[in-house]
């Protein structure tokens, strides 16, 4: 029955092309990841049909398990807005729940951009001194540092100048008196 195999092969190739078009034109990245895992399985079966079981094993193991996982992680990291809470008062957490003014403000902001708000008050990160805050922002993925200015009582939200979200945040924070947005300039020198 060689014909059967040939028909399957053609069908799979056409399927592959359709899936490639879908991946290229689809908007939602979540769907694309599923598609790419299936795409990889289809290519693996085509490798088997092409008498290459070794390549198929490699493709199945790498292409449909590890690579999609990496995609998932990468995309989930791109949907989050990481905030480091150094203020340690009721700005974010009041009565052990997320009901503070700051939280509501940030939540409104992240919901608007379809991001996931991720707040940390990790002790080790918060112990980082004022002078190293910029370094912290640049080296880790922390997008925003919340701290309290002791003199004026204002809450300072600090982030990178280069980050486009900070500009939006700045515009949004105009309505709030207690919040001030500060951006770190890019350090512009060679070595």
């Amino acid at each position: 029955m060689p014909d059967m195999l040939e028909i399957t092969a053609y069908a799979l190739q056409v399927l592959l092309i359709i899936m490639a078009i879908a991946i290229v034109t689809h908007k939602n990245t979540g769907t694309i990841i599923v598609l790419i895992a299936v795409f990889s399985l289809v290519t693996a079966s085509l490798y088997v049909i092409n008498k290459a079981p070794d390549v198929a094993i490699a493709e199945v193991a790498i292409g449909s398990a590890i690579i999609p996982l990496i995609y998932v992680i990468s995309i989930s990291r791109q949907r989050e807005f990481i905030v480091l809470d150094k203020a340690m008062d009721d700005f974010i957490i009041s009565d052990d729940a997320f009901t503070g003014v700051g939280y509501i403000f940030l939540k409104r902001f992240t919901d608007f951009y379809h991001l996931e708000l991720n707040i940390s008050n990790d002790v080790r990160l918060c112990s980082v001194g004022r002078g190293r805050e910029q370094k912290l922002c640049e080296e880790t993925n922390v997008d925003l540092i919340v701290s309290k200015d002791e003199e004026t009582g204002k809450y300072l939200l600090k982030g990178k100048e280069s980050n486009i979200l900070m500009h939006k945040l700045k515009q949004m924070a105009r309505d709030y008196d207690a919040i001030e947005v500060i951006t770190f300039k890019d350090r512009d020198f060679g070595d």
Binding site: E138, D188, G190, D191
Partner: protein
């Protein structure tokens, strides 16, 4: 003795692994020891080198050469090897004091050296592909090594566009393999000679060339280079601009040797691509204000000049001129980048307009920088002049080609007159910066520039066996030409570039996006297909 090529590849790799595993800052001198060992081995290899393919061919594993991977060396690859070992010496010494708490940096740097030497020697297309991919990954990591947003952005751009180019390279390997049943370059060369120039051969040539054009940043596929070389650390920029980009040009030479008998008339096409690259590179360089961006765009334009020479593969004078320019460019561009690195790290800014008074603050660095600038602008008695003059004599009969070279020269002069503004002005820095190792590197590079500018014939003929056209350096005509270019350049700078008109600003702010780069990639494939398949 026979296996020195293999040792040359694996000594840096093993050193890199050792440094990574040991993770001790006291072991960093090991990199220098390995480098010294490699120099010795290379000299030994050179002494036994006969220039004959049969003698230098090593088939790894001792298999049939249709199947196995073979390493092969000729004059071109051996001279490239000397250049790369020298460049790595410079970068290692330059970064030595700074990088010595960081075993990662040396790990990537040394590994890159082994891989680059492998690329130079391999005689197998797929092996070449693997090395190119390794170089891509290593260079991406080295670009992103600084961990700033710029660096990540540039690294990502470079990684993706190179990956696409290398996929085209692989596609071409597929066509070659299924046509001739082997991927050994020398055997494919013979096999191509035996067939008529079929479409499949031409198609594979076009795809190879588009990959090479991305890797060596020809216009219009240059978009990754200024970003990548502009943001990397200065030591890395020097290495990338001076040497690693030349990996693409080396592939160009090798692949064109492979297609030597395929009856492809590429000479004119690549000459004009080179001319376009040279002009566009200079045009962008003129508009920049960032010191490293200026140098990066000049890399593009100098690659264009190299290409103008290399494209005449059958005209020994032009070819040698282009080939010599690879060396000269490696020397003076490394010198300029390293010098710029010293200045930038002292002044904490990259803007040419903000740096003043370097001459009073750092006299030695300034002198070496001026040597580099004289070389790149083609002053007599410096090395840039020699290769440019050889290329110029090759095209002196045809008007337009000669004038393009002259225009590029004026542009280069203008741009470096602009950059030389940093030397003037009062002393602004009071801190004395003592960097003996950096000065040593700059000094040796400057020395090499001057040496190669005056004694190029004994060096290239006696040492590497290239027949170089003799040029009268000290004639009045040369000086007149140079000063004419300088003065036109000064006028041009004073009245057009310095006021910063709208057109200049527009060019400066023009940045190619990734889609555009890929779109041009497809366009370029079509252009190459038009030239090589349909014509």
């Amino acid at each position: 003795m026979h296996f020195i090529p293999v040792y040359l590849i694996f000594i840096p790799v093993l050193t890199a692994l050792f440094l990574y595993v040991v993770k001790s800052r006291h072991m960093n001198w090991l990199a220098l020891v390995a480098q010294a060992l490699m120099t010795v081995l290379l000299v030994l290899y050179y002494r036994a080198f006969s220039g004959n393919y049969e003698d230098t061919m090593i088939v790894l594993g001792g298999w049939n050469e249709w199947i196995g991977i073979s390493l092969v060396n000729d004059e071109i690859s051996v001279s490239f090897m000397f250049l790369s070992v020298f460049s790595w010496w410079m970068v290692l010494i330059y970064t030595f004091e700074k990088g010595n708490t960081n075993h990662n940096f040396l790990f990537f740097l040394m590994f890159l050296q082994g891989v680059f030497l492998g690329l130079l020697q391999t005689n197998d297309l797929f092996n070449m592909f693997v090395f190119m991919e390794l170089i891509t990954i290593l260079v991406t990591i080295l670009i992103a090594f600084k961990k700033t947003g710029d660096a990540y952005r540039a690294g990502l751009f470079y990684l993706l566009i190179s990956k696409v180019a290398m996929m085209m390279f692989l596609l071409s390997i597929i066509l070659v393999y299924n046509s001739f049943g082997t991927i050994n370059i020398l055997l494919v060369r013979d096999a191509i000679a035996a067939t008529d120039s079929l479409t499949v051969v031409r198609f594979s040539y076009a795809l190879f060339m588009v990959a090479v054009m991305v890797k060596s940043a020809f216009v219009p596929l240059y978009a990754w280079l200024p970003r990548a070389h502009g943001v990397a650390q200065s030591g890395i920029s020097a290495l990338l601009s001076g040497l690693v980009v030349k990996g693409g040009l080396y592939l160009f030479i090798r692949l064109n040797q492979m297609y030597e008998f395929a009856n492809l008339n590429y000479t004119d096409f690549f000459y004009w691509i080179g001319a376009l690259t040279a002009v566009v590179g200079v045009m962008f360089a003129l508009s920049q204000k960032d010191m490293k961006q200026i140098l990066a765009y000049h890399t593009i334009s100098q690659i264009g000049i190299v290409m103008m020479g290399l494209s005449k593969l059958h005209d020994p004078d032009m070819f040698i001129g282009g080939f010599l320019h690879i060396f000269n460019h490696a020397l003076f561009k490394s010198l300029l980048f390293l010098g710029a690195g010293v200045i930038i790290s002292a002044y904490r800014t990259k803007k040419v307009t903000d740096i003043r008074g370097v001459m009073r603050t750092m006299p030695f660095v300034s002198i070496f920088m001026i040597v580099g600038m004289l070389s790149i602008t083609g002053a007599p008695f410096f090395n840039g002049f020699i290769s440019k003059a050889i290329i110029k004599y090759g095209v002196i009969d045809s008007g337009v080609r000669y004038w393009i070279l002259f225009i590029v020269n004026i542009g280069t002069a203008t741009s470096f007159i602009k950059m030389s503004q940093i030397f003037f002005g009062p002393k602004t820095m009071t801190i004395r910066i003592r960097k003996p190792l950096k000065n040593l590197t700059l000094m040796s590079l400057a020395f090499a520039c001057v040496m190669l500018g005056n004694f190029y014939i004994p060096i290239s003929e006696g040492f590497f066996g290239f027949q170089v056209r003799t040029i009268d350096i000290g004639t009045w005509a040369n000086f007149f030409d140079y000063f004419l270019a300088l003065s036109i350049g000064y006028v041009f700078y004073r009245f057009v570039i310095a006021p910063d008109p709208k057109a200049v600003r527009y060019i400066r702010e023009h940045k190619m996006t990734f889609q555009q780069a890929n779109y041009l990639f497809v366009v370029m494939i079509i252009v190459l297909l038009t030239v090589f398949v349909w014509w």
